[in-house]
Point group: C2
DNA sequence: TGCCCAACTATAGACAGCCTACATATAGAC
DNA sequence: GTCTATATGTAGGCTGTCTATAGTTGGGCA
């Protein structure tokens, strides 16, 4: 799958993988890969800026840790991040329904 | 629906509305609106460049008409446009399935 | 007659958000 | 001692949306 297609939906995906369990950036990258069943390979150069963006807009918050000599920024959803995720879910649902109907529709 | 979300999928939608019946640019704009049940309002400033792009890449072809004093460029699918539409359909299907699974998934 | 709106095509410029490529550093395996 | 996995991050490019603007013709209405 061309990863470019996720444009505009990445934020929702990141929020979804962070739901329930906090993760650091690298972990988010891996989680996206695993959750997609290997279909998605979002590069770190895409994920880190996305995390910074989400943090700036208050949807996630970060705590700095050092584990085995390695610096980690562990992100978790904020309350408004949880609300944003629910919005993303329903708007994705609506979007997917509309596009599926439009693109699959047979010629009149 | 935020129209920006269609980014990367507009070409498929345009090809889909052109399947079966040729349309001019303005007609494509209206067809997108109608087909989406009013959910989508793609501005002309988005559609015309998209049509030119599709024409340049050989997926649609245009014929110039003059109807009631008004200039019209009527577009129809080419053979490779038809193939492209089928590709768009299956890749959309795959994409939607993956994203739906990822975003709806409950926390572990 | 004059004015506005719908039909129709089109371009310029802004902007967001992906991408690739690179930089940096530690730990552990070989 | 070199390579790979882990881990974070920035710079710059590119594509494709967007908004805003521009112009033409025909028809309805005052």
């Amino acid at each position: 799958m061309k990863a470019d297609a996720i444009r505009g939906h990445l934020d929702g995906l990141v929020l979804a993988v962070l739901e329930g369990r906090p993760l650091h950036g690298y972990g988010v990258v891996q989680a996206l890969h695993v959750r997609s069943g290997g279909a998605l390979d979002v590069p770190t150069g895409t994920v880190y800026p996305a995390l910074h963006r989400l943090e700036r807009s208050g949807l996630i918050s970060a705590k700095e840790h050092t584990v085995a000599g390695r610096r980690r920024r562990v992100y978790q959803l904020t309350a408004s991040g949880r609300r944003a995720l629910n919005l993303e879910r329903s708007s994705w649902q609506e979007f997917a329904t509309v596009i599926t109907a439009m693109i699959q529709q047979a010629p009149s």
